[in-house]
C-alpha cells in the first residue's frame, strides 16, 4: 500500500491497529474528525489477536476490582448489541472445585450483584446439566452473562466503520519518529514494512494506542511511560469442548478460564513478566503447556483426551501508576495519558492498560480527550451505532428461517461477517469452492476479504476469514489461499514466500504441543509442502511477525 496521504493534515493520527486503535479511529471518524489509522503490521497482530476471546461479564473482577467489574458488565451489554456478529452469548459458569472451597463463592455472588452482574447460584447438578463438559466433582456453580467475542472480527468491523466514516487506514507502516514543532507533536514519520519507503503524515493530535508497543512509541516521542510486559500463554483445543465459558470460582489464577470460541475451545492463561526484547518473539514453554493442561483438566476432565491444536501467547501491557514508578502498584484499569499536562508535550495522547472488553470505553476516553484538544464538542455514539456486520437487518428473520438450507460454508460465513455476508458472492461452483475445508472458507469469501478487508498476505487472510485456523492448520488450504492471493497481486515469487512464512507461522504454534495427532498432521504437512511440493525449508523471514 503506497502512502498517498503525505501532504494532508489530519485531525487525528491513531497509531496501533488493535482493538483500541481501531475503536479509537472509529470513534474519531464518527465524531467528524479527519482520521488516519496506522499499523506497523496487520490488524490484531498484537495482544488483540492473542487472548481468550472472552466477553467478560465482569464477574472475574467482582471481588478484586469492583470498578473494572462494573465497566465490564456495561461494555458486555453494549457489545452484545453493537457487535452482535462478533459475540456469542454462551453464558458462563463460575464453578467451585472441592480443592477451592465454597468461601469464595459465598462472597462472589454478592460482589457480582453489587457490580450489576446478573449472577445466579446453581445446584452443581443443574450446572452439569447445562454444561456436560464441566468437571462432575464441582461443589458449587454460579451462572453469569459471560460470552465469547471474536477479536479478529471485532477489529475488522471497527476498521470498516472508521473507513465508512471517512478515515484512512495504513497497514504495514511503522512509526519511526515524530515531527515536532517545539513542544508540539505535529506528525509522524513512517517507514513502509513492505518496501522500506519513508514518508511523513501530519496531524494535530496523535493517539498512541499500541498496547505494550506503546512504551517504545512514547519513547520515540520523548516521553516515558512505565509499562511492563506480562506474557499470557493459552492452548487451543481441536473442537468445541464446552458450550458455556467455564471459570474457576476463586481468586484469579493460572489457567482458570475455558472459553468456547467459534469451532474451538481455549484454555488460559498463564502470567509471566518478560523483558521487552521478547515481546516480538514469544515462545510458549513446556512448563506452561503442562500447567495449562493440568489446570484445564480440573475445569473440564475431557480436555485430557482432546486434541490440542496449538499454543500461543499474548502480552498484556501492565502500566505502573504514575505515582509509583517502581512498578509495584500496577493498574489493570484504563490509563489515558494527556502528555501535554503530564510531560509538557502537546498533541500527544496515550491510551493503554484496560482489556479487550473495555476497548470501546478506552476509545471513547481517548477520543474525548482528542476532541477537547481540537475544540470539538460532539458526543460519542459508538455505544449506540452498530458495527458493520451487526446492523439490524430486515432479512434477519428470513435468514434465521432459512439458515438450515444454506450451505455449510455460507452458515460459517454468516457467523464471520454477519449482515455483510451478502457481499460474498455465492451460487456458482467457482465462488462456492472451498479453500479452507476445516473452517469452511469459500473462494468468494477469500476474494471479498482480499478486496475489502486489507489483506496483503495469507496471515492477514487467516485473521479475516479463519483460513488455516482449523485442525489441519493450513495443510490443505494454505496453497489454495496462496494461489488466490497470487491471482490478485500477480507475483509468483511473493506468493511462494508468503506460503513459506505462513506454514512457518502455523508450525510455530503447533511446535509446543506437537505430540499425538498434531505431530502426525504436522509430519504429513511437511511431507506435502517440503517433500512433494519442494517448498523451502527455511522460510524467508521478511515482514511478517512470528508470534503464534
Amino acid at each position: 500500500m503506497k502512502n498517498v496521504n503525505a501532504r494532508k493534515e489530519y485531525d487525528v493520527i491513531v497509531i496501533g491497529g488493535g482493538a483500541t486503535g481501531a475503536g479509537t479511529a472509529r470513534d474519531c471518524a464518527m465524531r467528524g474528525l479527519s482520521t488516519i489509522l496506522i499499523e506497523r503490521l496487520d490488524f490484531t497482530a498484537g495482544a488483540s489477536g492473542r487472548n481468550h476471546g472472552l466477553l467478560h461479564s465482569g464477574a472475574r473482577y467482582a471481588h478484586t476490582d469492583p470498578e473494572s467489574a462494573a465497566e465490564c458488565i456495561r461494555e458486555n451489554i453494549i457489545l452484545k448489541r453493537v457487535a452482535r456478529h462478533c459475540v456469542e452469548e454462551t453464558r458462563g459458569l463460575f464453578v467451585t472445585l472441592p480443592e477451592d472451597g465454597l468461601d469464595y463463592q459465598n462472597a462472589f455472588v454478592d460482589d457480582c450483584r453489587r457490580a450489576g452482574i446478573d449472577a445466579e447460584l446453581l445446584e452443581p447438578a443443574e450446572a452439569i446439566r447445562l454444561e456436560p463438559a464441566v468437571n462432575p466433582d464441582i461443589i458449587g456453580a454460579v451462572k453469569v452473562p459471560d460470552g465469547s467475542i471474536d477479536p479478529f472480527r471485532l477489529v475488522t468491523a471497527n476498521v470498516l466503520a472508521a473507513q465508512l466514516n471517512g478515515a484512512d487506514v495504513l497497514t504495514y507502516h511503522e512509526v519511526t519518529g515524530f515531527v515536532k514543532d517545539g513542544t508540539r507533536i505535529c506528525g509522524v514519520e513512517l517507514k513502509s514494512r513492505r518496501n522500506g519507503e519513508r514518508s511523513t503524515v501530519y496531524g494535530k493530535v496523535v493517539i498512541n494506542a499500541c498496547g505494550i508497543w506503546g512504551h517504545h512509541v512514547a519513547e520515540l516521542a520523548g516521553v516515558k511511560i512505565a509499562m511492563y510486559p506480562a506474557k499470557g500463554s493459552l492452548l487451543i483445543f481441536g473442537h468445541r469442548v464446552n458450550h458455556m465459558v467455564l471459570n474457576r470460582c476463586r481468586k484469579p489464577g493460572d489457567a482458570d478460564i475455558l472459553v468456547p470460541g467459534d469451532t474451538i475451545s481455549v484454555i488460559g492463561t498463564t502470567s509471566t513478566r518478560i523483558p521487552f526484547d521478547e515481546i516480538d518473539r514469544m515462545e510458549v514453554t513446556t512448563g506452561e503447556v503442562d500447567l495449562l493442561l493440568r489446570e484445564g483438566v480440573k475445569l473440564s476432565p475431557m480436555l485430557a483426551w482432546t486434541r490440542v491444536l496449538r499454543a500461543y501467547a499474548g502480552v498484556r501491557p501492565l502500566v505502573a501508576s504514575d505515582h509509583d514508578p517502581s512498578g509495584r502498584s500496577i493498574s489493570r484499569g484504563i490509563v489515558c495519558l494527556d502528555h501535554e499536562t503530564r510531560d509538557g508535550l502537546s498533541g500527544f495522547i496515550t491510551i493503554t492498560g484496560g482489556k479487550l472488553m473495555t476497548y470501546r470505553l478506552m476509545a471513547q476516553d481517548a477520543t474525548d480527550m482528542a476532541c477537547r484538544k481540537l475544540g470539538v464538542d460532539r458526543p460519542c455514539r459508538t455505544a449506540e451505532v452498530p458495527l458493520p456486520g451487526s446492523e439490524p437487518d430486515a432479512r434477519d428473520e428470513e435468514r434465521k428461517a432459512h439458515i438450515i438450507e444454506l450451505s455449510t460454508e455460507m452458515k460459517a460465513a454468516e457467523g464471520r461477517h454477519g449482515s455483510w455476508t451478502g457481499k460474498i458472492a455465492a451460487g456458482n461452483d467457482a465462488d462456492d469452492a472451498l479453500v479452507c475445508e476445516c473452517e469452511q472458507v469459500s473462494v468468494a469469501e477469500c476474494n471479498y476479504a482480499i478486496e475489502e478487508l486489507h489483506v496483503n498476505n495469507l496471515i492477514n487472510l487467516r485473521r479475516r476469514t479463519r483460513l488455516g485456523m482449523g485442525t489441519c492448520q493450513g495443510e490443505l488450504c494454505a496453497c489454495r489461499g496462496a494461489g488466490i492471493l497470487e491471482r490478485h497481486h500477480k507475483c509468483t515469487k511473493r506468493a511462494l514466500d508468503d506460503l513459506a512464512s505462513f506454514m512457518a507461522e502455523r508450525w510455530h504454534g503447533m511446535y509446543p504441543v506437537c505430540w499425538g495427532e498434531t505431530l502426525v498432521e504436522a509430519q504429513f504437512t511437511s511431507w506435502l509442502y517440503q517433500g512433494v511440493c519442494g517448498l523451502e525449508k527455511e522460510p524467508p523471514r521478511h515482514e511478517e511477525e512470528m508470534n503464534s
Partner: protein, 423 residues
Amino acid sequence: MMTLQQQNISDNNFESCIKCTICTVYCPVTAVNPDYPGPKQAGPDGERYRLKKPVFYDEALKYCLNCKRCEVACPNNVKIGDIIQSARIKYAKGKPSLRDTMLANTDFMGNMATRMAPLVNFTLGLRPVKYLLDRTMKIDDRRTFPRYASQRFESWFGRHAAASQDSYPHTVSYFHGCYVNYNYPQLGKDLVKVLNALGVGVHLLDGEKCCGVAKIANRCVDEATRDAHTNMKAIREATARGDETVATSSTCCFTLRDEYPHVLRVDNHDVRDHIMLATRLIYRLIDEGKAKVAFRPDYRKRVAYHVPCHMEKLGWTIYSTSLLKMIPGLEFIPLDSHCCGIAGTYGFKKEYYDYSQAIGEPLFRQIRESGCDFVACDCETCKWQIEMSTGVPVENPVSVLAAALDIAKTRELNGVAAIPAVE
C-alpha cells in the same frame, strides 16, 4: 511433567483425521453427486461444526451410502462412515417417512409378504402398481423388487433339517437374515447342505431379528437397537453352547460385528470374534484339515467375483475367493472393487435411483464384458442390483459350493454319510 503430554492423546476419533482426503477419492457417491460434500467434510470436518452448533448439520449427508469404503481407505483409522451415520441419526430433521419405515422393516414386510407370496410377487411386478408406488411413495418404478418365497426358511428348517443337526460332530448357529428367510430360502438350504457335508450341524439362533442395517440407514434407531439386544442375547446363548455364529450375508455379518458397537452403541466385545461369515468358517475348516471336500468332475463355470462394500470393510474377501478358486472346474474372474450402488434400501428410493445406477455403471460394464456365466457375491442387495442392471445371474459363494461339491462323496470323506442328509 512430561507424562501429561504423553497421556493427552485424543479419544475423539474424528480428531485423528489428517485431512489427506483419500476417503473422498474412494467415495462412490462423491464421484457421481456434486451435492454430496464427501466423507471428509461430511464426517470429521462436519463433526467439528456440528459440535459447535447443530444447525451446521447438512441434510446432504442423506446421500451417504454407508458403504464404509471411506473407512477402508482411511490411513488413520477414522470411523468416517460411523461418524456420518451417527450424525444422521442425531441431527437429521423429521421422522423417517412411511416409505423409509416400510423399507427399513425388512422383517415385518417379509413376514407379511411371505404369507401371500405369489400374490405379492405378481402385484409388485405390475406396471400400474410400480407406477403407483413411484408416484405415491417415491419408490422408483424402474427398480425390480426381490421376489418373496412362499415358505420361510425358518419353517423349512424346522420341518426338514432341525432334527438331524445335533447328530453332527460339530455345530454352528446360523444368522440367516431377512433375505434368506423371506426371499431366498435356497441359500439357507445350500448352507445347511454344505456344512452338513463338512460334518457341521446347523442351529438357528433363538428368536433371531433383522440385523438392523436397513433400520440404521433409515434412522429407525430405537427399533434397530431393540432388535440388536435380542440378537446379541441369542448370539451369547449360542456362544455359550460352543457354537460359532455364521452368516451368509456380508452386510448382516458386518452389522452384527461393527455397526452394533459403533453406531447403535450395543456392546458386543465378548462375542464379536465368534460372529463370522460362513465362507470364513468353511475355508478355515478345510485349510486346517478339519474337513475334506470332493468336487463334481463335471462342474464347468466361468465366474466373476464381486466384492460387496461391507465385505471389503470386513476384510474377508480372501475367504470367499479362495473357496471359489478351490473348485477345479471354475474359471475365476476377479472384478474391480467397486460399489454396485444399491446400498440396501438406498437404490429403491426415487431420489437416489439415478445416483445408484451411475455409481454401479462401471461395475455393470465390466460384468457385461466379462462373458461370465454368473457373478458370485456375498451380498443379497448387490445381487438384486447386478441382476437387474446386467441381466447376469448372481450366486452366493455358498450356493456355488453347494452346486460344485460332490455332496455324497464329501459326506463320506467327513464321516457323516450315516446321518440322513437333508433334502
